[in-house]
Subunit: 472 residues, 2 copies
C-alpha cells in the first residue's frame, strides 16, 4: 500500500498562524508536533518500508522534505510530486495513481490522506485502513466515513447503503453536499449518514478506470502531464504546461459521486479536520474557568477563553469565550463561536494587498529561515538561520548594504573574490553592489543578525548568480 | 500665580501603554499629545511668564524636562522638585509651597494640577482659574468641583455650601469619600454635589497656615527637608533623609477635609481623569458600528470595540464592547465595562516579578532611548536613539561584546584610548571589558543598531566611570 499525502491549501481560518507561505499542515499543535508530521508518521505506520508519496507545491517542498527527514525518512522512503499550481484533488490523485501504476504496479493500493487532518486514535485508524485495503483489493473505491457527533454544516455527508458481505464496509448510497443546519440535524438523527472525511483507499488501476469513465478530461490532462515528466527523479516537478490543462475539480465531484463501486468504512478514530481555532483550542486542557492557555498569559475574571501566545505577554480582562492568537506581527481576537469567520480577515488583507495575509515574520527558505526583527525607514534587521550544509545563492544587492554578526555557529562567507570563516561574535560588512554568498559548512545551525542599511529593503532587490536550489 | 504640576503615579489601569517606567502622563493620546504636554501648555497659559513648578521623581525628570523644552520652555520657565520617593500629595504640595514662599513670595497663589488629567475646554478652565485665584486672594483654599454627569463611584465628592458673595465660588460643606453606586446616584440626583477634581488654588501662606493647623507633622518634615536642600538649583533634589519622614497622605485628607476656609469653584471645562481605557477610547471618533481604531486593524462583524495598535496588525472577529491595546511586548484584551480592572493585571505581573509590569520595550534614558528588538539566549538586539548633544556614560561590560551599526546621524565613539566618528552605514565592535563611550555631537538624533553577543545581557552588567547625568 502506498500512502499518498496531499499537502496544499491555505487554512485561512487558522490565520494568523496559518498563512499561505507556511500553512496549516506546518502549524505546531499542543504537543509540539505539526499535522504534517503526524500525517507522515501515520503514513509510515501503515506503509512499512514502502515509499510515501506526497503531492505538494514547490513552495512547500524543501520544508516538507526536511520535516520528514527529521522524522527519519530515508532517501527512498519519501517521494514528491510538485504541482506548479493548485488544481484541487482530482488531478493530484490522478497523477499520483499514474506514478503508482508505473513505479509500484497497477494493482497496488493507495491510501489518500490530506496532510492537515488530525487522527487521535492511531490503532483504530490502522484497523479501518486494513478494512479499506481489503475493499480496495475487491475493486472498490473506499472512503472513510466518520460517525457524526453534532450537526456539522461544514462537511459533506455519505449516506450508507447495504453492508458489503465479508467486509467491514458498506456500499455508498449517495454522497451529499454540505447541508444546512436542519438537514444536518436530520442526517444526525437518522443514523444513516457519515461525515465524508476526504480520505480514500483504492488501487491505482481501479481509480484510473473510474476516472476514464467519469472524468476523462482530468485523466487525459494528467496522462499528458505524466508523459512530459522525467519520471525517475524525486522530486518530480510537474510542468505547468500541460498540467494547467487539468480542470480544477475535487475527486469527490469528479469520480466518487458518480462511481457505482464506492464503499464506505466507518471510522471512529478521533478524526478532526482542525477547521478553526475552536478545534485547535479543544486540543488543550482547560482550567476550572474553562480557559486554555499556551504561552505567557494573565487572565483576570475571564471564562472559556483560549490564548495562544508567542513571544509576547497576553492579558485578558473580563472576557468570555474569546480566542486570542498572537504572533510576531499580528494578533487575532475572535469570539469562539465566530472562529470560522477568521477567513474573512485574510480576504480583507488580501484585498488590501497586505503581506500579513501570506507571509509571517519568520519566512522559510530552502537554506533555513529568516525572521524580521525590525522593518523601518532607515534599516531592516533580520535573524538568519542557515541549516548545516546549506548555501544561500551567490548574490548582490543594488540598493542595500548588509552588516552581519554571527551569534551561533561558524559561517563561511564569500565577499567579492575573498572567502573566509566568520565565528560567533565576529562580524563583516557587505557593501552595496558586492557579490557575496553565505554558507554553513558545519554540523550545527548558523545564526546571524543582519542589519541592512540603505533606503530600500524589498526582497526583490536581489540579483542571484548561482543557486543550488534552482532559483538563479 | 505659580502653576504647580504634580507628576507621579503609575496609572496601572492604562497598562500596557502606561507602565511605571513611562507612565500615564507621557502616553500619547488621540491627537498625538500627551497629558503632560497638555498640562504644561495649560499651566503656561495661566502663568504668563512666571515659572512653572513641577514636582516629580528623578526617574521622570529628564524626560519631562525635554518634553517641556520641546514645547518652548526656557531655562527660567520650568523648575523641578524631585522627590526621592512617593509620599502622596500633601508633602509634595507642602514643599512646593515652601519653594513659592521663598522664591516668589508668601502671598503668591499656587494652582495645583495633576499632570495626568485632561481638560477639553481651555477657555472655561481659565475662567474658573480666575475665579479660584480671586478666592485664593481672599484667604480661601479653593477647589475645582466638576458637575457630575453620571453616578461615578471612582471619585470623591464635594457637597456645596452657601455661595460666597461677590465670587463664583461656594463654601465647601463637606468632602465625602468615594461613594457606593446608590449613594453616587443620590448625590447626582440631589444636585448639591461636585466631583472632586484634585485641582486646587491657594496662596502659599494660607496653605502653610492650614497645614500648620491640620497637618503639623507633614509641615514639620517638609520644613526640615526644605532647609536641608540647596534652594537655588533646578532641579532641586529633595534628600531622602529627611523627606522620608513625611507621612504619606493626600492633601484632601491632611488639610482640605478639616479646613474651615475651603471653597469650591464649579467647573464645566470637559475635565476627565482618563482613568481607564474606556475613557481613552472616548477621545476617538467612532464609526457606524461604534468601533474606534488607532493603528492598523481589520474588524469583522464587531461592534463597540476600541483598538489601539502599535506596529502590528490587530484583527477582531465577532466581538462586542472589547478593548484591544497592543504594544511591542504585550497585548491587552479587556471587556470595555471591566476596563477599570486592568490594574489587576499589573498586580499579578508584579507578583510574578515580570518586568512587563514596569518597563516597556522602549526604555527612556537621560540621553535618549533604547528599544529591544530581540532578547534571546544567544544575543540581544537594540535600537539606540541618542539625542543631539547627549553622551552616554564612559563604561564597560564584563560579559558582553557589542556590535554597533549607525543607521542615522553621526556618532562619536570612544573605544579604549581611541576616538572616532561613525557615520550611517558604518559599524564598529566593542570587545568585552573594553572602555567605551557613545556621543551625539551633531544636531540630529543618532540611531544605531546594537547587537550584543555573549551569554548574559542584563542591564546590570554595566560599569560606569563617568556620567554627565550623575549615574556613575
Amino acid at each position: 500500500m502506498v500512502p499518498l499525502i496531499l499537502s496544499g491549501g491555505a487554512g485561512t481560518r487558522l490565520w494568523p498562524v496559518s498563512r499561505r507561505a507556511h500553512p496549516k499542515p506546518f502549524m505546531q499543535l499542543a504537543d509540539g508536533q505539526s499535522l504534517a508530521e503526524k500525517t507522515w508518521l501515520r503514513a509510515r505506520s501503515v506503509a512499512g518500508d514502502a515509499p510515501i508519496l506526497t503531492v505538494t507545491s514547490r513552495d512547500y517542498y524543501f520544508y516538507t522534505r526536511d520535516l520528514y527527514e527529521k522524522l527519519g525518512a530515508g532517501p527512498d522512503q519519501s517521494r514528491f510530486l510538485l504541482e506548479p499550481m493548485g488544481r484541487n484533488t482530482a488531478p493530484a490523485i490522478a497523477l499520483a495513481a499514474l506514478w503508482v501504476r508505473d513505479h509500484v504496479g497497477p494493482g497496488a493500493s493507495m491510501l489518500v490522506m490530506p496532510a492537515d487532518h488530525l487522527i487521535r486514535d492511531t490503532a483504530a485508524f490502522e484497523e479501518a485502513v486494513r478494512a479499506a485495503h481489503e475493499l480496495a483489493g475487491q475493486g472498490q473505491l473506499a472512503t472513510f466515513g466518520m460517525h457524526p457527533t453534532h450537526p456539522e454544516t461544514g462537511f459533506g455527508y455519505i449516506r450508507q447503503g447495504p453492508a458489503i458481505e465479508g467486509t467491514q464496509g458498506y456500499q455508498v448510497d449517495a454522497f451529499v453536499e454540505k447541508p444546512d443546519l436542519d438537514t444536518a440535524k436530520a442526517y444526525l438523527a437518522s443514523g444513516d449518514y457519515f461525515w465524508n472525511s476526504g480520505m480514500f483507499c483504492f488501487t491505482a488501476e481501479v481509480l484510473l478506470a473510474a476516472m476514464a469513465e467519469h472524468a476523462p478530461e482530468v485523466l487525459a490532462a494528467a496522462e499528458v502531464t505524466w508523459q512530459a515528466t522525467a519520471t525517475e527523479a524525486t522530486p518530480v516537478e510537474l510542468p505547468a504546461e500541460p498540467f494547467s490543462r487539468c480542470p480544477s475539480i475535487s475527486i469527490d465531484y469528479a469520480v466518487m459521486e458518480n462511481a457505482g463501486n464506492a464503499a464506505v468504512v466507518p471510522g471512529d478514530f478521533g478524526w478532526s479536520d482542525i477547521g478553526s481555532w475552536k478545534a485547535i483550542s479543544e486540543l488543550y486542557q482547560s482550567d476550572d474557568a474553562g480557559n486554555r492557555v499556551r504561552g505567557k498569559a494573565v487572565l483576570v475574571d475571564s471564562r472559556g477563553c483560549f490564548v495562544q501566545g508567542d513571544q509576547r505577554l497576553v492579558a485578558a480582562v473580563g472576557l468570555e469565550d474569546v480566542v486570542i492568537v498572537d504572533t510576531g506581527d499580528a494578533v487575532l481576537v475572535a469570539h469562539r463561536d465566530q472562529a470560522q469567520d477568521v477567513g474573512q480577515v485574510v480576504r480583507q488583507l488580501t484585498e488590501l494587498e497586505d503581506e500579513a495575509a501570506i507571509y509571517h515574520q519568520t519566512v522559510h527558505r530552502p537554506w533555513g529561515s529568516y525572521t524580521i526583527l525590525e522593518d523601518a525607514e532607515d534599516c531592516k534587521v533580520k535573524r538568519l538561520v542557515v541549516k548545516p550544509g546549506q548555501v544561500l545563492s551567490l548574490q548582490l544587492h543594488h540598493q542595500r548594504a548588509e552588516h552581519w554578526t554571527v551569534v551561533q555557529g561558524t559561517a563561511k562567507v564569500r565577499l567579492g573574490d575573498e572567502e573566509f570563516l566568520l565565528e560567533a561574535n565576529q562580524s563583516t560588512y557587505i557593501p552595496v553592489e558586492t557579490l557575496h554568498r553565505l554558507e554553513n559548512p558545519g554540523t550545527e545551525d548558523v545564526h546571524l543578525i543582519e542589519v541592512q542599511t540603505g533606503a530600500y529593503f524589498g526582497e526583490d532587490d536581489i540579483e542571484r548568480f548561482e543557486d543550488i536550489y534552482g532559483r538563479a
